[in-house]
């Protein structure tokens, strides 16, 4: 078993080395600077994610939404009897959560809205917002479940997907370009990714965990 494993790993590494050596040709692409200028953006990565390869991004978001459906189907929530909440509630933790939640949300929004000018964009902003919402777990799962109504969040998430689809239509069919579209798409992606991360974390916290 182990020699075979070593051989497999070695073979894959040799293949990677071949790819890295530059022996394989690379295709010609239009200069990203020109594309960015047409979009009124300065961050070339955001231009590609939201402009040139918008369909790509859209379907990757759909994959993300599908995995969340899988997580929801697989994990059954557990009623807490006798056992404590998943995150121990202490005054310090509660105060830290209250203090940090606001700045994290503001920073995530900043990262999302400035994503076409500097580093940032919908994906990191959504992940930041999702992690920030985790701070709310310090309040205890039961109380949180009472406050946050998950089906509403779900509808917001699917609404965000539909809105991205509509935006895609405007951009691809009508040929509209410009920074307002980039900002709108970044914000929608933030909503989508953040709600997805939140639903996953919330489900894991509500289930019992294993091993």
């Amino acid at each position: 078993m182990k020699p075979l494993a070593a051989l497999t790993v070695l073979g894959l590494l040799v293949l990677l080395g071949l790819g890295a050596s530059g022996l394989l040709p690379r295709p010609e692409l239009p200069l990203p600077e020109h594309v960015a200028a047409a979009w009124g953006a300065r961050n070339l990565v955001a231009t590609i994610v939201l402009g040139v390869r918008l369909w790509d991004t859209l379907f990757e978001i759909l994959i993300y939404a599908m995995t969340i459906v899988g997580v929801k189907l697989g994990l059954r929530p557990v009623r807490w009897e006798g056992a404590g909440p998943p995150v121990a509630e202490t005054p310090l933790l509660r105060r830290a959560a209250d203090l940090l939640l606001g700045p994290v949300v503001v920073f995530a929004l900043y990262v999302a809205t400035s994503g076409h000018l500097g580093p940032g964009g919908g994906f990191p902003a959504g992940a930041l917002l999702g992690t920030g919402l985790l701070l709310a777990l310090a309040k205890g799962v039961e109380r949180l479940s009472a406050e946050v109504y998950e089906p509403t969040l779900e509808w917001v998430k699917y609404g965000a997907i539909v809105a991205i689809l509509a935006l895609t239509g405007v951009v691809l069919v009508l040929g509209r370009k410009g920074s307002p579209y980039l900002i709108a798409a970044n914000l929608l992606m933030t909503v989508e990714v953040a709600i997805g991360a939140w639903v996953i974390l919330h489900r894991f916290a509500k289930s019992r965990g294993e091993l």
Binding site: M1, K2, A5, A6, T8, V9, L12, L13, L16, G17, G19, A20, L29, P32, E33, A36, A37, R42, N43, L44, V45, T47, I48, V49, R53, D56, T57, E60, I63, Y64, T67, I68, G70, V71, G74, L75, L117, G118, P119, G121, F123, G126, A127, V193, G196, A197, I200, F204, S207, G209, E210, L211
Partner: protein
Amino acid sequence: MEGLTALALAIALLGVGLWTLIVRRNLIWKLLGLNVASNGAILFLVALAHRPAARPPITGLGPGPSADPLPHALVLTAIVIDFATLALALVFVIVLTERRHTQDVRRLERDEEHGWPER
């Protein structure tokens, strides 16, 4: 220099991750190895996008070549999808543990060989 270092690191991470994925028998450890291996694959793409003395792919930062923005854009979505698929895989491991009371792949394989008991 940075590019070469990163390439070496990417290949090493991929090796370590794949090794864990193949040799470890516990499913949770296998997933940890898979996570490190996918980090290596992502770093590999980003290292390929790097050019000597390149600036970030943002216009208006001054003269000189910029890193290739296309791999960055591809990798950005891959990182998020990685997280989502990892969550799904963990859910499968949790369900499996609930039913079969083990995370040992060899035992699971043997159980399957002998036929899974009736529900």
